[in-house]
């Protein structure tokens, strides 16, 4: 766990990663990295496997501490992991209430499950849920506390293409109701284009490029500017000559 600094915050909302360094032994995983996320902005962090995406996300979640620089995030934040990480010994509802307190906790959890389309599945054991359903419970567990920052670590990587598209729609719907900043880590360029307000590309421990996405919902599906953006992102990732 990282230590909480007493220096006053520099911005009131969103998140700020300033000059952060993270090392594992001799290997520098995050090399003086900067990233800001504005209030209610959805930033997609794109990069190849092993480039330090998850490391950055864990720093922002407060699960690890930086070796240099500062990370400034809202105290009310939630994380959706790569796997669903549901407690197998608790039913869906109790998995969502894990961090909740107060007399209305159960009702809030029911609402959150209904929001992700799982009304009526409150009493299901995790072993009875499909992969997509389990990940939706994990999403409900993250959103139920009304976080100001949601960190998503390749949350849909293990799902099939159809379920993944449904989850993308769900994320877009949820964004309209929850006014939270989001950071979504992925290695899927199409997923990034489908969801992002801004796409940042990470390589060798730094964020090299930042591309705002201003396309309409229809243009994100298919358009010339979408293909241009896709080509640009692939070039950023060093995959240009393969496409």
């Amino acid at each position: 766990m990282s230590t909480v600094s007493v220096t006053p915050p520099r911005q009131q909302a969103g998140a700020l990663v300033d000059d952060v360094v993270r090392r594992f032994g001799d290997r520098v995983v995050l090399d003086h990295l900067y990233l800001t996320i504005a209030d209610e902005e959805l930033v997609v962090l794109l990069g190849p496997s092993g480039c330090g995406k998850t490391t950055l996300l864990r720093l922002m979640a407060g699960l690890d501490g930086p070796d240099g620089g500062t990370v400034e995030v809202p105290a009310r934040r939630a994380i959706v992991f790569q796997g669903d990480r549901l407690l197998p010994w608790q039913r869906a509802l109790r998995n969502v209430t894990l961090g909740l307190h107060g007399p209305d906790a159960e009702q809030r959890a029911r609402d959150a499950l209904a929001e992700v389309g799982l009304a009526g599945r409150e009493r299901a054991w995790p072993k009875e849920l499909s992969g997509g359903e389990a990940q939706r419970v994990a999403l409900a567990r993250a959103l139920v506390s009304h976080p100001e920052l949601v960190l998503l670590d390749e949350p849909f990587a293990a799902l099939d293409a159809i379920t993944r598209r449904r989850m993308h729609n769900l994320v877009r719907t949820l964004r309209r109701q929850h006014h939270a900043a989001m950071l979504l880590v992925t290695h899927d360029v199409d997923e990034a284009i489908a969801l992002a307000d801004r796409i940042v590309v990470m390589s060798q421990g730094r964020i090299d490029t930042s591309r705002p996405v201003t396309l309409s919902a229809a243009d994100r599906e298919a358009s010339v500017s979408r293909e241009d953006l896709r080509a640009a992102l692939l070039a950023d990732l060093g995959l240009a000559d393969q496409h």
């Binding site: 197998p88 010994w89 894990l98």
Partner: protein, 312 residues
């Protein structure tokens, strides 16, 4: 079950090369025998499957005795051998004779009080051993200082056979009830501590991390993540504890007992009442069986969340 409809296209495409017969020489097409059929499997609904008479008979039988099949079979063979005179009554009396003797002893007012005394010893010893085992196991599992306090000593205890400490116990605590209860408690404590400690330390770290990120406090973490996660290991410990405490009960009661099931056995041995010895053994066996069934029941109730292998 589902049915896989044979699809030639798919089977051509996905059949592994090793399954395919070696290609016939191209130059001798006239000698080309038809290729041997490739092994295929077809799954259909259980009701529609053709079954042999033997399978139907076996399914109707469906093991009505469950895990007691073998014990009951042994009892029947034993009874037959005893009735036929192959086994002498002083060596291995017939099960029916043992049951008769048990009934007699009960009516004489010997068996009831002895059983009550043995059960009381076992209950007190178990309560003591399990309490200490659970408290130290939880402290050792949750805190590293607890681990440093308890782990070494319990590991040492674990290597000492329960029968070997009996003489020391007698020297320290005499030959009365205290020694017997402590032996049983010792037998219950060691496996409970070791299993509970290992179970708590073995809880999936990713789930602990997840619980931290949801804002669950330490109390929530322990009650909703760590204790339920350690439950399977706890039940394994409980099973060993019950078995070892019965072992301890036998050991404690065999040495200088003036009452209890152990006394019944020693007494029977002294006067060559083999049947009475067997009555004692049967009671110990039943106690062990009941303890095991109790833990099985707990497992069914407490671990219903767990997907586990069901043998066919």
């Amino acid at each position: 079950m589902t049915e896989i409809s044979p699809s030639p296209a798919v089977s051509e495409a996905y059949s592994p090369a090793t399954d395919a017969p070696a290609p016939a020489p191209v130059l001798t097409p006239t000698t080309g025998a038809p290729a041997p059929a490739r092994a295929r499997e077809v799954f259909v609904a259980a009701g529609a499957r053709r079954t042999s008479a033997f399978t139907r008979w076996r399914r109707r039988l469906s093991w009505p005795l469950g895990i007691y099949t073998t014990p009951v079979a042994i009892l029947i063979i034993w009874e037959i051998l005893a009735e036929a005179g192959v086994l002498g009554p002083t060596y291995a009396p017939a099960p029916t004779a043992i049951a008769r003797t048990a009934a007699q002893l009960w009516h004489q007012g010997v068996l009831g009080p002895d059983l009550a005394i043995s059960l009381r010893r076992a209950a007190i010893g178990l309560a003591l051993g399990l309490s200490i085992g659970i408290v130290t196991g939880v402290i050792g599992g949750l805190l590293s200082s607890g681990e440093h306090l308890f782990n070494g000593i319990v590991q040492i205890f674990n290597t000492i056979p329960i029968l070997a400490i009996l003489p020391v116990m007698i020297v320290w605590f005499g030959i009365d009830e205290l020694t017997k209860v402590l032996i049983i408690a010792f037998g219950a404590f060691v496996p409970m501590y070791l299993n509970l400690f290992a179970a708590i330390r073995g809880v999936d770290q990713r789930l602990v991390e997840m619980a931290h990120t949801t804002g669950a406090g330490r109390w929530r973490l322990v009650t909703r993540v760590i204790f339920p996660g350690a439950m399977p290991g706890f039940l394994v410990g409980l099973r060993f504890s019950l078995a070892y405490s019965i072992l301890g009960l036998v050991a404690a009661e065999t040495v200088n007992a003036s009452s209890g099931i152990g006394f019944l056995i020693t007494n029977g041995q002294t006067y060559l009442q083999t049947t009475q010895v067997f009555v004692g053994l049967v009671i110990y066996a039943i106690l062990g069986l009941l303890a095991d069934q109790f833990v099985r029941l707990l497992q069914r109730v407490l671990l219903q969340w767990r997907p586990s292998y069901e043998a066919s």
